[in-house]
Amino acid sequence: MRHLLSTRDLGRDRAIELLDIAEDMAAVQQREVRKLPTLRGRTVVNLFFEDSTRTRVSFEAAAKRLSADVITFSAKGSSVSKGESLKDTAQTLQAIGADAVVVRHQASGAPQTLATSGWIDAGVVNAGDGTHEHPTQALLDAFTMRRRLHGDASRGRGLDGARVVIVGDVLHSRVARSNVWLLDALGAEVTLVAPPTLLPVDVSAWPARVGYDLDAAIDSGPDAVMMLRVQAERMHAAFFPNSREYSRTWGLDDARFARLPRTTMVMHPGPMNRGFEIAASAADSAQSTVLEQVANGVSVRMAALYLLLSGEREVAA
């Protein structure tokens, strides 16, 4: 694998291979020595133009557990804040000898540009770009679902027939986009439930059903309900009247949570707005996979870095 930019072009076989390798990586996390020598001598640069603790720390842990050298580079306090361009930053990383660049950027498509511009030879992992994609988050979500559904028999399997409801701010959510493509590739049925104002205009072309009634979705007894964070920082217009109304109509509150089957997973990519899109009772329940998702994130990112950095370098397409 040369780059990991999106789940849209990943394909079922590659996705399952990645999830299977993540199983091996997860097994390593249970050991006393949680480190593998696999990427010794390789350099991974975490290039974060946008603040993120969870994803940055997760990638850092993943690279370190594979024995890679990790350089973390955040735009704040770097020459980017003095006006350095993405091209100049990339060429600096090329000169340093980066083998892989994990990039988070506020602009959709920045990782794609980095991967295809010829500025740098390194493999590029998209760690979230604008409102476009966040492939490793979708992979860790799929990994978490697969483990809850199939347990030890997960290896080699997809999510065929699993019914997943994704709720909330789909418009601004790269997590939702990446999940829709990946879950569809893995055979799951995806239903998006959101206020019409928070759905993208091209949603009819997505491999997902669209609904507007969260109660109906809850009563259909899905295998997983994924609550999205309401991304106030990305909202430059009024998308719903006020937070109380959003919460009442689109939030997973106590009453809705109580109606869910005990087997339904409650997922959230974090950070959670408790009491807003998700009630504390749901977030802290045994059905909640929030902390599993974080732990699985390290395994999935180890698998992605392994696939990117092992093997003879494929010639850029």
Partner: protein, 191 residues
């Protein structure tokens, strides 16, 4: 291209039976014994050896054999195509036990070197032994097998194929002359 059959099904069974007896003899029984196969075919050979040991020693524990994947410990990860790891399944802790590593072909010794690294991350065995079905020479590390099914001196250009019924539908070992085709993974001369 000439393909020569070196071992037939009965030869493999005899060799594995002998190896099982030798393991029991050197370990003085089944106490604290763990047999770990290296994927892919080493795992099947390990399971067969464990089965034979259980026939010889009915008191042998059910959890005797497992698998040890060494992909993440290889030193050629950047020289070959990406390898997909196989599961590691160690049935019991390896601390203070005798671990017998099992592989189909012993060649350069690099796989076994990787296996020793992988074992060190899992615990501290009392002793590590090595059992292989075929030893074809050409070692690149100071590694030797304790239990060998068949010594098969071969040219580096030749290719040794181990066939096992679990994956290949039949048991046998064949040797082929030099070929332009890509050699089997286990038989590939490594840089």
């Amino acid at each position: 291209m000439a393909v020569r059959h070196v071992l037939q099904q009965a030869d493999i069974e005899r060799a594995l039976t002998r190896i099982a007896h030798e393991i029991l003899e050197s370990n003085r029984g089944v106490d604290d014994l763990v047999i770990l196969g290296i994927p892919t075919r080493g795992v099947m050979l390990a399971a067969r050896i464990a089965e034979i040991i259980r026939r010889i020693e009915p008191n042998a524990p059910a959890a005797l054999a497992g698998s040890l994947d060494v992909t993440m410990y290889r030193d050629d990860l950047s020289h070959t195509r990406t390898r997909t790891p196989a599961p590691t399944d160690v049935p019991v802790g390896i601390d203070d036990r005798t671990v017998v590593l099992v592989d189909d072909v012993l060649y350069s010794g690099r796989t076994i070197r990787a296996a020793l690294d992988a074992l060190a991350d899992l615990g501290r065995p009392r002793a590590v032994r090595l059992a292989v079905l075929v030893d074809r020479g050409h070692r690149q590390f100071p590694i030797r097998a304790d239990f060998v099914g068949k010594n098969l001196p071969s040219a580096a250009s030749e290719r040794i194929n181990v066939l096992l019924r679990e994956v290949d539908g039949e048991d046998g070992v064949t040797i082929e002359g030099a070929s332009d085709e890509a050699p089997a993974l286990h038989a590939r001369p490594r840089p």
